[in-house]
Symmetry: C2
Subunit: 347 residues, 2 copies
């Protein structure tokens, strides 16, 4: 057996190594540093190839590919969304991702992204709130206490200075799990039995529920003036969380309009309804929040550039930590024209 060349190997970050990496760096520091990377990539938004994700829908869920490129590095994420999985003991969302060198097309990183997606989603939400939430916002309602909830809570703590989270889920066991996990992490945690209770005194409302349906997690009368809504769970066609009336009186910020029009809360509105692209707010070329009374909504569906930034962040940590293995994934014969010879000599 001939040993593969070093070109045949792709660094791979397993679930195990991703967890070790988070602990090595520290969760809140990871969230903060990743948010900075995402913000930096939003600041060079026009440099990226952008396309709405490529979705394969079925009756029970969706499988998506989310590619992007900055001309130097190419990245994509594979991600599914299957709301019925939980009842079968499976994750609603699982993911993995890849970076490749645009100059050669060779992969340079393969990584688990189930955990990384939860991290990057929380980092993006908190980064957006830094620009959109009312000044001094310290209390957040967290509606939907599933797999992503704790990441959101700690992202807002680390990046926005949130000190209190008010939890609500239609499943009280999910709320108990979330409160348990957040205990002792420097946040005041209040468990609530209704959404109305959860939003009491909250300047930020995060909705992160998983049902694949037109749901109404929030109705118009529940949203007071000056609130920032971080809408995370409405992220595919036929899946929304907010009553349409809330959208009509909110200033709406989105990642990539061609994707959000299909997948976000704004699928409930006409295709011409005005929205602001978040990257323009970050760049200072479009206004963010204009008044204290304004209701702002970040209609987040998740965009490929966030995954790209998260994968690059992970890649930047590999040399110093060694938390990866080498995967023999690329056939690389000594003579590149001699793939057949390599195969035949492998006997």
């Amino acid at each position: 057996m001939i040993t593969p060349s070093h070109l045949a190997f792709v660094p791979f970050v397993s679930v195990h190594n991703m967890m070790k990496l988070v602990h090595h760096i520290g969760l809140e520091r990871v969230l903060t540093e990743m948010a900075a990377e995402i913000e930096a990539d939003f600041r060079r938004w026009p440099d990226f190839d952008k396309t709405p994700r490529i979705a394969a829908h079925s009756d029970v869920g969706v499988i998506e590919l989310m590619p992007t490129s900055d001309g130097e590095t190419y990245g994509f994420k594979y991600v599914n969304g299957h709301p019925g999985n939980m009842k079968r003991g499976l994750q609603t969302v699982t993911a993995f991702g890849l970076l490749a060198d645009v100059a050669t097309g060779y992969p340079v990183l393969l990584s688990e992204m189930t955990i990384l997606t939860a991290l990057r989603t929380a980092a993006t939400s908190a980064m957006a709130a830094k620009f959109l939430a009312p000044p001094g916002a310290a209390t957040m309602a967290l509606i939907g206490n599933g797999a992503q909830a704790e990441f959101q809570a700690l992202g807002f703590k680390a990046i926005c200075g949130v000190t209190e989270v008010r939890l609500y889920d239609i499943d009280a066991a999910a709320t108990a799990k979330c409160a348990d996990n957040l205990a002792g992490r420097g946040l005041k945690v209040v468990t609530c039995t209704t959404a109305e209770d959860a939003i009491l005194g909250a300047q930020i409302i995060t909705t992160v529920t998983a049902d694949k349906q037109y749901a109404t997690i929030l109705t118009d009368n529940m949203v007071g003036s000056g609130v920032h809504i971080n809408g995370v769970g409405g992220d595919c066609p036929g899946k929304t969380e907010l009553h349409r009336d809330i959208l009509l009186r909110s200033t709406i910020f989105v990642e990539y309009p061609p994707q959000t029009r299909i997948e976000g809360e704004i699928q409930q509105l006409s295709p011409e309804h005005p929205v602001t692209e978040l990257w323009q707010v970050i760049m200072g070329t479009a206004p963010g929040r204009s008044t204290v009374q304004e209701v702002t909504l970040f209609d987040s569906v998740g965009f490929a550039i966030e995954d790209f930034a998260a994968l690059r962040y992970v890649r930047s940590k590999l040399a110093e930590t060694g938390l990866f293995t080498q995967l023999d994934m690329i056939a690389d014969p000594d003579d590149p024209r001699d793939l057949f010879g390599m195969l035949m000599r492998a006997i």
Copy 2:
């Protein structure tokens, strides 16, 4: 450290294991069985989700994602095409692919596909020729003697009964390499110094060159009546191999017209130029070759369903051979809502 559940693991076929798998089964048997799988999937063509591949082009190459689904299994391939790679000692084409369960979105196979793409391309070419080449065709010109050439030669031997291959490449070293590799494999191998010489007496002409440009590997006067042309190398925008006049007097067969119009030889023709979908010939709902004098052209660019069939073939061989490893790629907490808890307990 908590051990991951079995759901966290994705069977992975490395380059090493793919080579062992091919030797375990035998190369010609692999090509023949894979062609049968591809043909079977062409027979249920309407059952598949089909989309032109999603391409990210740069000055030096292209990176593509090729997804498809039959409603039960989802598959995609990552593949690059970088003609300049060879000069840097790298493969022009590298690839890997994935299968997933549509019902849950969980991946069920990750595999190298550089070798597998060469196998499936040869299997598809030979399968198409079975339906399109003139009866009794036994001599094939093979123009372009790079990484895919030997696979094409042996595919046509195993599946179509070709007994003689006539090799030509602008690089004589590539022809020598190819002739060397094919020696002793039951084919009469003739090395030629011009394309004109290579096509002498050939009933089948396979073109599989790699330059990313509008090239003219064959001109009209070189193609005699009754020949079947297997055009493999013209497979992206701006990359063709055949003079337009050849196309105008050929009956043209394609995989998936929306993709081939962009990428194939027929990018040189008007978008209305009539073409026949190969799957309809296989099903008997469209004519294949009608006369002995007819020039037939399989304008092959490679389609996702071929990769899907190839991956399913590999997957079907894993239990009996054990030629895979388990990759810890999917985070799978005991309580699917408790991704955070899994992460925190991993310390």
